[in-house]
Subunit: 366 residues, 2 copies
């Protein structure tokens, strides 16, 4: 890791890390590894690629430094556990890695790790240090999100036809990399990524995906990595446009922006997760007027909303004129609107009126 | 609703409510409806049925009472929206019902509802008043939870074979009543309901369900109604025993107890949700010793844990000797253990050692 390895498989990278330590020990040198800096100062918006990405700053971690020795030892322990996962072809959670690597150091009362707060950052260090996505390191979260529509996946040898799963759908695993989930067939025209499960259920119940030939995805809030990655892969491999449907509030805007150019906190993953061509299909701050939503189904912006909206106005990726207008319109109206408020018109307003018009009139923001 | 209707379909019950109001108005009487009291004082543990259920206390709600008139009007509005769902064969969320019924009262600045806190209790009133489960009223939550294993559902005309859905599984809808989801076939020997998604993923990845011929369910924490109802239906219709696997802490015990005899807050639903024969398969406070878990992967009980555990000790349904011993053992050890801590032994300890031994030695609590 003194030179950051590129390419090659993850197991090799992890073994390479161990070799480095052994080689240094043999030469009686101080084993040292270089870890990219994961702070705001080392994150930037790449205007050309239109994603948030990490810069090149790194920090050293060496064994013969009193302040770093424990963290160095922890790094090697976690790398070893990750290697165990690779060898056995298993996946696991951040929390189980913490438990797996926790033990009392021989002849002492000291634990290798006291809390998960110590092991999580090390996994992130290794993720960026080895240039391996968390998923490639076989670290997963719980299933999160649901998909339905004319797409067939291959998962563990099974052919999962998401157009034949009723109104329930396929539960999206945390890890959907090619080696786990293959996209066998997809005849959809686009992907609709819906913020909330409620609206996803409406769309599923009304078989919206069949009439408009789309893949319906939800992550029940900020979409988890598996959902973002599936959307990205459908975009890349099947050339499908991705439309994002969220509440009209600063959090909705931000969910859209994370899908589009990645997040500040996990800038490293943008390269595999972000979809710079994703479109914002609503709710726009123009929609209450456009679709005749009464003011009393709007919710007054609170101080946190206003502060957050002003932060968004300053982000480089919200500098387009249309976006400045969009956000400022919400601020000056003093109101935010939830997707749920469309039900004020009619329970099926979303599927029968709102989305059909949005799609036919191409009413979206880029 | 002056006499609480029994049987008959939900639409009839809702129309019956309107008829009652019209009949009273025609006779120039004060329209009055009777709503069962939903407070702790009207909840009891039925020792014979082994479920938590509601008592018979009701309260009146009448139109010509200044203090009740608004609530009466709201009740009729919500009933009307629920009837709209029945007629159109639609389902929706609590939040959308709030939005649907919210409007400004003619010639006034007053809203029918100001917040969802006003409409939710009315839906619960109607649920108990009409003796119709929320699901029968077509009120749903988001999909919550996942299922995998040798069971075939019919959902919206599709045949969903949960043994052919890879490691992802079928996303459990909120409403799984017979009219929505039918159990077409099930060859499993038992249901394993796992508290956390992480362990569910471990079991799915290791194809535990195939080797031990079971249906694997998770609700990612306190199981939502759809997951509980699916477990109950598999228990009733397919005569499958249900084992519940939770963390060893007061919250894990409580999750088990809600699956088994229902919850205090929603006592009305126990009759359709509770599974009095469900078994607690772990983690037991005896397991750390029995399975050699080191003390340092236990977590010190905090004050809230201790208070909650003492509450549990007093619940009528935890009075069996074994349960008193179980809870007191946890309290005296001063430690709680998460399922995740089994990973300390080995990433596959849960599937290769822990559960196989539990099942073969019938190490569970009733």
């Amino acid at each position: 890791m003194t030179t950051r390895p590129r390419g090659g498989n993850v197991e090799k990278k992890l073994v390479g890390l161990a070799d480095l330590v052994i080689a240094a020990a043999n030469k009686k040198r101080d084993p040292t590894i270089h870890i990219p800096v994961r702070s705001l100062s080392n994150v930037r918006f790449n205007e050309k690629r239109r994603i948030i990405e990490m810069g090149d700053n790194t920090q050293e971690r060496s064994f013969f430094n009193v302040g770093m020795a424990k963290k160095f030892m922890q790094t090697i322990l976690v790398a070893d556990a990750l290697n165990e996962l690779q060898r056995a072809a298993l996946t696991t959670s951040l929390r189980e890695i913490y438990y797996r690597t926790k033990h009392t150091i021989a002849d002492s009362h000291e634990n290798t790790f006291d809390t998960q707060d110590e092991s999580d950052p090390i996994i992130e260090d290794l993720e960026v240090g080895l240039e391996a996505l968390r998923e490639e390191l076989h670290v997963r979260a719980e299933n999160g999100g649901t998909v339905i529509g004319p797409v067939v996946f291959e998962d563990d040898g099974d052919r999962v036809d998401c157009s034949r799963l009723g109104k329930g759908g396929y539960s999206v695993p945390s890890i959907v990399e090619e080696e786990y989930v293959r996209i066998k067939k997809c005849t959809a025209d686009f992907v609709l990524l819906v913020e909330k499960g409620t609206q996803w259920n409406r769309l599923a119940e009304d078989k919206f995906w069949r009439k408009y030939n789309c893949v319906l995805l939800t992550g029940n809030g900020q979409p988890p990595r598996g959902v973002r990655r599936i959307a990205r892969r459908l975009h890349d491999e099947k050339k499908l446009p991705v439309y994002v449907l969220v509440d009209n509030d600063p959090w909705g805007y931000y969910i859209y922006s994370v899908v589009k150019q990645g997040s500040i906190n996990l800038a490293f993953e943008s390269q595999r997760m972000a979809i710079p061509d994703a479109k914002f299909i609503g709710l726009s701050s123009l929609d209450p007027e456009r679709y005749g939503l009464p003011r009393n189904v709007g919710i007054k912006l609170n101080d946190k909303d206003i502060t957050r909206a002003k932060e968004l106005l300053n982000y480089p990726w919200f500098q387009k004129k249309e976006w400045q207008v969009e956000i400022k319109r919400m601020l000056s109206s003093g109101l935010k609107f939830e997707l749920d408020s469309l039900a004020n018109k009619d329970f099926q307003f979303l599927t029968k009126k709102y989305l059909p018009r949005k799609l036919s009139e191409k009413e979206w923001l880029d």
